[in-house]
């Protein structure tokens, strides 16, 4: 039986009393309303200190080579990149997209763009052309940094549809030389001066744009500001137990918010050395990295943890992890078995924590000092006030005080990394707030000890391998196929990925469902959406259930898929669908 409580030796959990965001800002040398720039605090500050020659990033290439980059080198390269952008006419507030694997150039580009006040939006490398196009178009992105291979496969054909995109800077990973309408990144870096590129920015100046998904409509671009760095700094210490001399490994891809906030910004601001693995997930490789690189703090995700669990104890035979002090996980609620498995495999429990693109940083966490209740996301961090609320449609929000009552998780506004808007969608932004509360959309309960437990989403958004995926974005692409009349997409529970995307497809009159068509449709979706967003299962159905107002009832599709009670169907359109064709 798994323990219901993992006791910590130290009972001195951090108290909220002495905490203030302003004090953390002062620690970073930020004056109230003074200048603040994420890249200056992350890189330049250390490059001008005793840490200049310390390794900021250690890049582990897939084929085995290792490249260390010091804070001084990172400062110089990011200055060159910032100056190169400036010479191309990029100005403060312009949007720079990054689409590549975890290679050195990505980190240089993100930091260099931040230095000149450009707004950086990292895209996940597994996105297909459609998610790339819609995000760049929404933000009117002016610059894209990518690799020659990704450009040729995913972007080149989109260029006519992206008139805002003035410059594409390529890392020539194919060795093919010049490609039309692009610039060679390395040539630009060589030509640019390494003089300081910093442009003055204030705490409320936009810095990062993280796209996230809702049930309806296009992805939402959550805008984050330079002042967010105060949260990154504070929470890396409070939630991840990160200390200046640590070796840190955040396995998240910078294409997602975790990989930016905690894969780039937080560890650099603390002046630690980060491991970056350029290769795809490989269980044995990961175990060897933890051991050989002597990782002290490891921040990873439930899917990876479950894949390592699946590999069995043989994987760990002969490996020891004496340096590993703290393991944390984020992306979706970590099952209690996985929390406890950490004890068996690494001699350390796994500390789940909770946050989302909109919060910009970790909000609720199992910290180093706090006893763990496996399966709980932990307690709010210093500086974060959380509540469980009820808000029925059209009625005011009320705070639920009774323990163990399910409601929506809400956070009191005012923490520095809170998003400042959804790009071009002010009404959707406003809808996230009730007075001084940010409504997260996650359903939780809080127990009598103040621990929060994830219950589910209040909407139909899908979480696959820890990533939010909007049904609408997937359905729209499926419906673009000539054989498809309508499509409804759900998250189907999966032991490893949390959820996998399953699509229910209604074909046009006269078109017959068969295996060839299923494969054609799957290929169509994967080509446009990429592996991370495309459905993994497609089922042909004669009709989809709709509400009387004509919306697809995804909740009902899901209940049917799982064989659950279908609940209140009073809003269901008459004569709604029977089940799936086998």
């Amino acid at each position: 039986m798994k323990p219901v409580l993992i006791r910590k030796q130290s009972a001195d959990a951090p108290t909220d009393a002495a905490f203030s965001w302003a004090a953390v800002g002062r620690e970073l040398g930020i004056a109230p309303d003074g200048a603040v720039n994420i890249a200056q605090l992350a890189v330049d500050r250390h490059a001008q200190s005793a840490l200049a020659e310390k390794t900021a990033f250690r890049f582990l290439a897939a084929e085995g080579s290792v490249r260390d980059l010091s804070y001084r080198q990172l400062a110089e390269l990011s200055d060159r990149f910032g100056n190169a952008l400036t010479s191309l006419g990029v100005r403060k507030g312009d949007c720079v997209f990054v689409l590549c694997g975890r290679i050195c150039e990505l980190y240089v580009a993100v930091l260099g763009a931040l230095k000149i006040g450009a707004v950086v939006s990292p895209l996940f490398q597994s996105f297909g052309p459609e998610p790339i196009r819609s995000r760049i178009a929404q933000a009117a992105g002016q610059v894209l940094v990518t690799t020659a291979s990704a450009y040729q496969r995913k972007v080149a054909a989109l260029r006519p549809e992206l008139p805002s995109l003035k410059h594409v800077l390529l890392v020539d990973d194919l060795g093919t030389g010049a490609i039309a309408d692009t610039l060679d990144l390395h040539a630009l870096l060589r030509a640019a001066p390494d003089t300081p590129a910093l442009v003055p920015t204030g705490p409320e100046d936009p810095a990062l744009l993280h796209f996230t998904s809702g049930t309806t409509g296009l992805p939402k671009g959550a805008i984050h500001v330079h002042g967010a760095v105060v949260t990154h700094f504070a929470t890396a210490r409070s939630a991840l137990d990160l200390k200046p001399d640590d070796i840190f490994w955040c396995t998240a891809d910078p294409g997602w918010v975790t990989g930016t906030s905690y894969g780039i910004v937080a560890p650099l601001v603390l002046g630690v050395t980060s491991i970056v693995d350029e290769a795809d997930f490989d269980p044995l490789r990961w175990i060897e990295i933890l051991e050989n690189e002597r990782v002290n703090v490891w921040y990873t995700a439930p899917t990876a943890i479950r894949l390592l669990m699946k590999a069995g104890p043989e994987l760990f035979a002969g490996h020891r992890f004496p340096d590993l002090r703290f393991i944390a996980s984020v992306g979706e609620a970590l099952n209690p078995e996985a929390v406890c498995w950490g004890q068996e495999a690494f001699g350390r429990p796994i500390h789940d924590n909770w946050w989302q693109s909109e919060t910009g940083g970790i909000m609720i966490a199992n910290t180093a000092a706090l006893d763990i209740k496996p399966g709980s996301m932990g307690r709010p961090l210093p500086g974060i006030a959380a509540h469980v609320v009820r808000h029925p449609a059209g009625e005011p929000v009320t705070v639920i005080e009774t323990p163990d009552t399910v409601g929506e998780l809400a956070l009191e506004t005012g923490w520095p990394s809170m998003f400042r808007g959804y790009l071009n969608q002010p009404e959707r932004y406003r809808a996230c707030f009730a007075g001084h509360l940010y409504l997260t959309g996650d359903l939780v309960r809080r127990d009598a000890d103040g621990y929060y437990w994830f219950v589910g989403r209040s909407d139909d958004v899908i979480k696959s391998s820890g990533h939010l995926i909007g049904s609408f974005e997937v359905e729209r692409v499926l419906m673009a196929h000539p054989a498809v009349a309508e499509a409804g997409v759900i998250g189907k529970p999966d032991a490893l990925a949390g959820e996998v995307i399953k699509a229910f497809v209604v074909l046009k009159q006269g078109i017959t469902a068969n295996e060839d068509l299923r494969l054609d449709l799957l290929g169509h979706a994967r080509r446009r959406l990429g592996a991370a967003v495309a459905p993994r299962e497609i089922a042909f159905v004669p009709a989809l259930p709709h509400t009387r107002s004509g919306k697809i009832m995804r909740r009902l599709l899901k209940a049917r898929e799982l064989g659950l009670p279908e609940g209140d169907s009073s809003t269901l359109e008459p004569g709604a669908a029977p089940g799936e064709k086998k």
Partner: protein
């Protein structure tokens, strides 16, 4: 390449093609990592391995993932595990 290796290669490509129908097998560079060439994510990759287990009867343990990064690597690994059907 032996006849057995040819057969294994065709079987592996058929498995990949069912999970990722968009791929063009003629574009795969056999000695370069497969996953980055054709956008297979971790879950796709597990599905490929599970289907190989099911169809070809070879279980590839996690500790051997490093040996099956390329198409050539997969074919060589499987050829080593699958006894040749009959002497040629």
């Amino acid at each position: 390449m032996s006849q057995q290796q040819e057969q294994i290669r065709a079987a592996v490509l058929a498995i990949v093609k069912r999970l990722a129908p968009e791929i063009d097998p003629t574009r795969i560079i056999a000695d370069k990592p497969l996953r980055t060439q054709i956008d297979l994510d971790s879950m796709d990759w597990l599905n490929v391995l599970a289907t190989i287990h099911e169809k070809l009867g070879v279980n590839i343990p996690e500790t051997d993932y490093g040996k099956v990064q390329t198409l050539d690597g997969i074919v060589a690994y499987l050829a080593d595990k699958i006894p040749a059907a009959a002497p040629e």
